[in-house]
């Protein structure tokens, strides 16, 4: 409860939360705001913003840019959240195992982690989507695969720190089973920095998805911000609005998530939050 209270008093965190909520509301209400398929031609092509019925103009095929942004918000958020959950599951499991058992197990786990860290993440993501096919599930999988190593490293460090603590040893002496010790004693005490890093990972997942779509590797049936920018890049000098508005959408969402993450960091970190 006190964490919630001090977050509510965190100014930039609250700004981020409001912007993020606005994006979520936009995403949820997209089917009612723009009932038509965002891929449909609804007007003349190359209409500038504030034309009749088209606040943000239309693209080169006469599709509504505003509708694209609203529907794209759904895709961006879904991909951001689910791929982060995927990477959390992989990263926390590997980090926790390595940190708790140490020794040989740790060695093996960390070499695997390093293997993934040495491969440039975005190139691996491109490779995965290109081989598996541009479907939303594959995009999520690819983003999850490239973004778990930092989470594993962090979890491992937290577990190594907590494993030697006396209350954990006391739980072992009490006869609690290793799984109980890990899930009930260590994980709750390690979770704060993991939540913070996870929230920032959502932002980077949205960026990777946009970049993949920009390169034409997004799901072709789903309108996304990255795809809009990618499609409009050839006409940016004639029709700036086609790429600027989706770009702004990405900027605002990622910024908002980062602000929320930072706010969480300040409030969950007892040393900083106690100062207020």
């Amino acid at each position: 409860m006190s964490t919630l209270k001090s977050f509510l008093r965190h100014p930039t965190g609250m700004i981020g939360l409001f912007v993020l909520l606005a994006v979520v509301i936009l995403a949820v209400s997209a089917p009612w705001l723009f009932p038509d398929d965002p891929w449909d031609m609804v007007g003349a092509p190359f209409q500038p913003p504030l034309s009749e019925g088209l606040w943000l103009g239309s693209d080169m095929l006469g599709r509504d840019v505003a509708a694209g942004i609203a529907h794209g918000a759904r895709i961006s958020l879904i991909i951001g959240v689910i791929s982060t959950l995927t990477s959390l599951i992989i990263g926390v499991t590997i980090g926790a195992t390595a940190g708790y058992f140490g020794g040989k197990v740790d060695e093996v786990m960390m070499r695997i982690t390093e293997l993934f860290q040495t491969i440039p993440g975005f190139i691996l993501a491109i490779l995965l989507v290109a081989t598996l096919g541009p479907k939303i599930s594959n995009v999520i999988f690819a983003i999850g695969i490239v973004s778990w190593p930092p989470l594993a490293r962090l979890t491992r460090a937290e577990f190594m720190r907590l494993r030697g603590r006396e209350f954990v040893q006391a739980a072992v002496c009490q006869g609690q089973r290793p799984l109980t010790v890990v899930l009930r004693r260590i994980l709750p005490n390690a979770i704060s920095p993991i939540i913070v890093t996870g929230s920032l990972a959502v932002a980077s997942a949205i960026l990777i998805e946009s970049a993949l779509s920009f390169m034409g590797l997004g799901d072709p049936n789903l309108m996304s911000w990255g795809f809009m920018i990618g499609a409009a890049r050839t006409v940016i000098r004639q029709a700036w609005w086609m790429s600027v508005f989706p770009g702004l959408a990405i900027l605002l969402t990622v910024l908002a998530i980062n602000l929320v993450g930072e706010g969480l960091n300040d409030t969950l970190n007892p040393r900083i939050s106690r100062k207020r």
Binding site: E166, F167, A170, C173, Q174, G175, R184, R185, N189
Partner: protein
Amino acid sequence: MTDKTLLAIENVSISLPPGADRPFAIEGVSLTVNRNEIVCLVGESGSGKSMTAHAILRLLPDRTGVAQGSISFNGNDIAKADEPTMRKLRGGAISMIFQEPLSALNPLARVGQQIAESIITHTKPAPSREAVDARVQELIRGVGLPDPVALARSFPFQLSGGQRQRIMIAMAMANNPALLLADEPTTALDVTTQKQILALVKKLQAERGMGVLLITHDFGVVADVADRVVVMRNGRVVEQGTVDEVLRNPKDDYTKSLIAAVPGARSLTRTDRKITGEPLLDAVGLNKTFITKQGMFLPPRRTDAVQNISLGLKARETVAIVGESGSGKSTLGRLIMRLIEPDTGSVHFGGKDLLSQRGERLRQMRRKIQIVFQDPFAALDPRQKVGDAIAGGPIAYGTPAKEAMADAKRLLARVGLQESAASRYPHEFSGGQRQRICIARALALKPSVLVADEAVSALDVSVQAQVLQLLAELREEMNLAMIFITHDLRVAAEIADRIVVMRRGEIVEQGETQMIFQNPSDAYTRALLDAIPGRAMFAGPGARQAEAASA
């Protein structure tokens, strides 16, 4: 005010932020420190003694401040002095040493550099580098450390606790202070180091004619060094006077209880506890060597923590393992708990080999041997309710949750807490209460052996006495055998049937408690006995009888 008076605190109150447990941290406190004397400020945690000292240098936490009263130093009121004046005083004419020398030193700077810093800050114009270096080495030599040149170049983590505290003292002496504030300077150290540090403070004080305000919770320390004593409780001064008046003839009840709490102050009425039979726990030939890698090109460092130790513990017996830090006593405790695996040796428990047990069989053995750790703040999960912590053990062995929780509440009541404590979190309790919770947690499994690893060392002397009393009662009620690990012989004398003295991983002497005190055969045991603070005043059980005989 006379010429002799160095520091005079008059009627000072410090306000606490709204919402604290009381409106003032200290209220109407008056005390003086003269030149060339040591004044001890005594009280338990929360009595406001540290706040008083911090107020002198205005090092108070945010949102607290001196609400009224005056603090005069050398005749000038410094309670309302401006920040530049205060900055000049801090580390200049008034310096301070703290309880925990590891956190008081910068971990990333060489200690020589840190001492030099305090010289350079306070000397205008800045002295030459050679002059500073020479002064640093003189200071390090002055606090009794060997090889000042090499020592100045080391980092805090390379030094022992006692060496670090000496460095802190050297730093405090850098500008020849007129007043030294020492905030529990020896509480984090073991008894032998404590004795050396107190002797050093006393020697420096006499050489320089300094005034010293020494904060402590231990009347043993007071008896050793103080000229005058000020006793505080709940933010107020309850009694003050010369050390002889207060110690021999205390007027206030609280002072009396503090003096009575000093371990070893009570005469030893030891009844024969009739301990016979085969050892319940039998450790033979235990060895453990720690090897730390030091980097790519350096040879790994070997520490022989435990060397060829054999130890038997009979049912209901209490064995104290005594030694200074680094003697391997805690490692031995952890080996028996199987929190660390020994290199060689065997531990038999109730006839079964403890070390060959694995998995589920080991888990079943664990419930019979329980441990209480030193630091009650680290030993409880901050996110777990007290009741769940205690009931967790029995539940892990299949006791129904409801029954385990009822047991936990009964145990809480038994260790002197309220049953409602079960639904609260550890941070709501004081150190002594937390240690009671840890004891309840260990006993919830109805063990036959309890390992108490420095279980009372982090507690105030008065709380220490209560917890020891509790342990003594519980071991009779539950037929507990105890391994009591401590650095303090006074504490060992209070509870142990037998004492084992360890040094550098080896047992140097063992025997009945009475025998160790009256007739120590090893030089190291004698050094430990000599290091007991306030030994002249609060003699150990042996000495008291000797005194009676000579009278």
